[in-house]
């Protein structure tokens, strides 16, 4: 498993699906471990009732069917499938409505889905998903990107209430790829994925949705920032190490 994860870390992120299916075929006995530890770009389906798209993941899947957060129905229909309790479903509906607005404000398009289910320790788990196609043929408003994808997965474990407060454990993954292409500079492509965790104890009085939403917003901001500044920055630094810009090269000459 360790070696498999090592390979996941080295293969080009844009080939993550091929990498995973190659590993699954080489290591059939580790398939559940692999599927739970490796995040892949998200897939969507269209809800037949509402006509809206929803995101597929392990958390809304049962057998080969996926539950839509909009109609609460499995696609394709499935008998004896699990559903959240009616109380949790109420929170799920509200979360989906609000998260769709959040998604619209930050992503100017994109698809969002929120799934919730009870866990074994009197709490519950919520999964917030966002998928954005930022290419010029997709939802890229500015039309800079030949190809551009952002997939975010936020899983929050919400603990039981204790003295008016609850523990929230958030694990977030962002996968992204972007390509620009023009005649003068050729193709320029960056792709990658990072995963981070954040734990907080927050007062229940503010409401679960408010608490979870703020954590996700903060986390997404941090992830975006570190991808932009740190990760892309490091690859840029590498380019400048390989072939320093001429100003630097010229500046060095008088010194040497």
């Amino acid at each position: 498993m360790e070696a498999a994860m090592g390979l996941m870390r080295r293969m080009p992120p844009r080939h993550s699906e091929t990498t995973l299916s190659a590993l699954l075929s080489l290591l059939p006995h580790h398939s559940s471990d692999l599927l739970s530890q490796v995040d892949l770009p998200l897939q969507v389906l269209c809800d037949v009732d509402s006509g809206k798209e929803f995101i597929l993941c392990e958390y809304n899947r049962d057998a080969d069917s996926y539950r839509s957060p909009w109609s609460n129905k499995y696609h394709p229909p499935l008998e004896d499938a699990p559903y959240p309790s009616s109380e949790l479903r109420k929170l799920e509906i509200e979360a989906n409505d609000i998260f769709a607005i959040y998604c619209d404000q930050y992503y100017e398009g994109g698809i969002s889905s929120v799934y919730m289910w009870e866990d074994d320790n009197e709490g519950f788990v919520a999964c917030f998903l966002i998928k954005k196609d930022g290419s010029k043929t997709g939802h890229g408003r500015r039309g800079y990107l030949e190809e551009g994808a952002w997939d975010a997965i936020h899983v929050i474990e919400v603990g039981p209430e204790e003295e008016g407060a609850t523990r929230y454990c958030l694990t977030s993954t962002v996968m992204l790829s972007l390509t620009t292409d023009d005649e003068s500079s050729g193709t320029f492509s960056l792709s990658g994925s990072i995963r981070r965790q954040m734990n907080m104890n927050l007062a229940v009085a503010d409401g679960h949705l408010c608490n979870m939403g703020k954590m996700i917003e903060e986390m997404e901001g941090k992830l975006r920032n570190s991808l932009d500044q740190v990760y892309f920055g490091k690859t840029r630094e590498m380019v400048c190490t390989l072939r320093p810009p001429s100003e630097v090269a010229q500046m060095r000459l008088p010194d040497s």
Partner: protein, 303 residues
């Protein structure tokens, strides 16, 4: 979602293994090989895959190997390939015998006369090599360069066309900092005797991998063309080097520009730094917010 559990054939396993090796980022094939070996758990399949994938990887990444006996370094490229494991180093007129999987040069022998260009060609090649070495030395802190004649190496004098390839390969490996990268340039130069023109075609490729608590890769490619006059060996060399310098400097500037455009333009089409409202999302107001969500939604889209 789970793949079928039927046992793969040896051939299928080998193909998968080769895919992993060939997709290794610059300088990381040995790490990939180590992990792959333990995932495969089958030395025969691994060895077969490695023997097929390594030569291909070494040539496409144009890796640089040290020649034994203080001859310097040799670039492993398809242009210098004499046989599967023999590579010409035009600079020293030596032939390196390499072990592809270990990525070392085991032996070296002098090149035969048949393997080297004619005196007429060699004069042009040497002059260009000298100019290119000067340029690469200035522009790339860890760059290597070779100039090969790939067409018409036996031309004895004026009246016939010939073609050179200049390759530049610069790699920076610092696995301890979770960062590796490589710059590869391939310049084809056609010496057209009849029209007294040199036609240049460049293919530049830059890759970088940063993998501390994540996996982010840059993959950039660019192609360009130019031409210059067919002159004496020395003047041709100076002209070619200045064309290459010009294009590579411009390309680097365009890479820099792509990076500078990221935060405020390109990246914004994926996710904005702040919402369209330019203030953090009003989570504290969600109860009120959900009552008026239809209106807000319209406003959000309207902006």
């Amino acid at each position: 979602m789970a793949e079928e559990e039927t046992e793969l054939s040896e051939e299928q396993k080998k193909e998968i293994a080769k895919w992993f090796l060939l997709n290794a980022p610059a300088g990381e094939i040995q790490y990939v090989a180590k992990d792959l070996k333990s995932v495969l758990n089958d030395d025969d399949v691994y060895n077969e895959a490695a023997s097929e994938a390594f030569p291909f990887y070494n040539k496409s990444h144009m890796i640089c190997l040290e020649l034994p006996g203080r001859f310097g370094d040799v670039l492993i490229t398809s242009y210098g390939e004499l046989q599967d494991n023999e590579y010409l180093d035009p600079k020293t007129a030596q032939v390196a015998i390499v072990d592809h999987v270990k990525q070392v040069c085991t032996e070296v022998r002098p090149a035969t006369d048949e393997e080297l260009p004619s005196a007429y060609i060699e004069e042009y090649r040497c002059a260009l090599e000298a100019e290119m070495l000067k340029y690469v030395g200035e522009a790339y802190p860890k760059g290597f360069c070779s100039v090969y004649c790939i067409n018409g190496k036996d031309v004895e004098g004026p009246g016939s066309d010939f073609e050179f390839v200049v390759v530049i390969s610069a790699a920076r490996l610092s696995p301890q900092n979770f960062c590796n990268g490589s710059w590869r340039s391939i310049w084809n130069i056609e010496f057209k005797d009849d029209i007294q023109i040199l036609e240049l075609k460049g293919k530049l490729q830059v890759g970088a991998h940063y993998f501390e608590e994540g996996n982010v890769q840059l993959d950039a490619k660019h192609e360009c063309r130019d031409s210059t006059m067919f002159q004496s060996p020395d003047d041709s060399a100076i002209a070619i080097a200045s064309v290459i310098r010009h294009h590579e400097t411009e390309y680097l500037a365009s890479l820099e520009a792509s990076y500078l455009n990221l935060p405020d333009t390109t990246f914004k089409d994926l996710r904005r730094k702040l919402p369209v409202t330019r203030t953090l999302f009003p989570w504290h107001n969600t109860s009120q917010f959900s009552l008026t969500r239809e209106i807000s939604k319209e406003l959000g889209i309207g902006k």
